[in-house]
Amino acid sequence: MTSNTATMNGAIAGPSLWSRMMSGQAGPVTVVLMALFVIWYGGAVLMNAPTQIDKYNRADQTWTKMQLIEDTLAQERPILPAPHQVAQEMYKTIFATKITSKRSLVYHTWVTLSSTLLGFVFGTALGILLAIGIVHVVTLEKSLMPWVISSQTIPILAIAPMVVVVLGAIGLKGLVPKAIISTYLCFFPVTISMVKGLRSPQVIQLDLMRTYNASKWQTFWSLRLPSAMPYLFASLKVAIAISLVGAIVGELPTGAQAGLGARLLAGSYYGQTIQIWSALLTAAFVAAIMVVLVGWCERRVLVRMGARS
């Protein structure tokens, strides 16, 4: 009897520990992260091995498998740098370098981030204004909506240099042209979501406003805009991420001297793969942090608007 209970307990305790680990967000994320590291290290060894073996042969050196693995993970210009190499580079350029230095990744991140944020503000404002026009004026819906959609079918890489050159000709340089490229990318999801959001009030709610003889603007402020808030935040999460993409793309074709895009470009000129990867990862972190911040604002606003927390 006692042994029976013991085995039963054991059988129950086993899966429950696993399911407890996997029930939160931390467990699954850790598993995926570890899988990524394994694939990354494996890939680094495989991709860097040919050049390393070449090097051994030229130096007439004998090598063991262990030595090969060690060396492929410590090359100066690997085809695929190992995670720890990227981490070291990031530590060096983010924490160990003065942020005013041109070698500091913080400095470059700030250059890109400032135009990302400016573009995001422009894009959000433009997106909301377009949506308000489209929802309220039938002619605007018919005339603007096709342009809004076709604007996104043009590759941003084709437009970016033109924007920079044209604006440069009228004396706008640096921050603003990049921000405008971000704006161009990020107004789109805001417009599309806000049109849907501003149209989301139910017929019964619109009828209610009509019984009060509410004006278009009163209906907008008391009904349409609050109804659209969840749609707005969903689109802002997309907009902030692609705003960063826009800012980086804006730095690429112009040979910008500073910014994450400039770091990517310089890295690829000189075969500095470690530098490319650390700029890439930094961009990814920045994007993640911004999306999290937008999500935090969303929760704050929606809780104030009575959402069940």
């Binding site: 019984t211 003889n213 009575g306 069940r308």
Partner: protein
């Protein structure tokens, strides 16, 4: 004013000078892809000040449409309608009525208080006055103490009471109610019916009330309008003379049952037309 105009005006004057709603030969046809739908046909009706008028009939008989025409949420395609002597549109623009929908239609991001004072906000009434009137309206439906709650924190019956308070908050003389208790259970409905009667007796408002429940119609009304579908029309108007402060127990009296019987007969007659 010429003599002819005066004569015209006299001719247009409603039969009773105290008519709140006066409808003559009203019809409404919806044009649909499958041909015209006759939602209302040849409707004549007068609602007098202080009346509690119920509209009863099977679904599709146009009772909700008729209420929406009175509220100027639909436009009649024929006939005349006047509210307080002016057109339905002017009446709506004057905020002559409070409307209670089938669903509470509370705005989920506003507290109960701010939902109830929404019409006052749109009428640009000062904040202190809004809060005062909101309190009063909530007291009328016995919801005081729930000012700061959000709609989802209230039961369905309480939400519907809040929506009634919202219709009462700006003190319109006419209350239009479209099956306000249709989604509620019997016990809550009885309770709200009682409260509504008390409110009517106290405020002396004119009420137009759409329902598909015979006991509800007979219990609440001073006048019952029985309607029939295809085309939507009035087939009987029954006046009752129960006292204004009636209790739920009148529902067991012979007079009550007699009226209920007449309503049922009317509904049945309307139906046989269909089969």
């Amino acid at each position: 004013m010429t003599l002819k105009a005066v004569v015209n005006n006299v001719a247009k004057m409603p039969a009773s000078t105290d008519a709140v709603v006066d409808i003559q030969k009203l019809s409404l046809t919806f044009q649909t892809a499958d041909g015209p739908v006759y939602a209302l046909s040849d409707v004549d009706l007068t609602i007098e000040r202080g009346d509690f008028v119920s509209f009863i009939g099977p679904s599709g008989c146009g009772k909700t449409t008729l209420l929406r025409v009175i509220a100027d949420l639909e436009k009649a395609t024929g006939g005349d309608i006047s509210i307080n002597g002016v057109s339905a549109q002017e009446a709506r623009e004057n905020r002559a009525y409070g409307y209670v929908f089938q669903a509470p239609a509370l705005l989920p991001w506003r507290t109960i208080e701010r939902n109830v004072t929404l019409p006052l906000e749109i009428m640009e009434i000062s904040k202190e006055e809004r809060i005062r009137r909101g309190h009063e309206a909530l007291k009328l439906v016995e919801l005081n103490g729930f000012e700061k709650k959000f709609p989802w924190q209230l039961s369905g019956g309480m939400q519907q009471r809040a929506s009634i308070a919202r219709a009462l908050s700006f003190d319109a003389d006419l209350l239009l109610m479209d099956e306000p208790f249709g989604a509620l259970d019997e016990i809550v409905r009885d309770h709200l019916n009682e409260q509504l009667l008390k409110l009517w007796a106290r405020t002396n408002k004119t009420v137009a009330f759409v329902t598909h429940s015979i006991p509800e119609a007979v219990y609440l009304s001073s006048k019952i309008v029985v309607m029939s579908p295809r085309p939507g029309r009035i087939i009987d108007v029954i006046k009752t003379d129960f006292p204004k402060d009636r209790g739920l127990d009148i529902r067991e009296t012979p007079e009550f049952l007699e009226v209920a019987h007449r309503v049922r007969e009317g509904l049945r007659a309307g139906h046989s037309y269909d089969e």
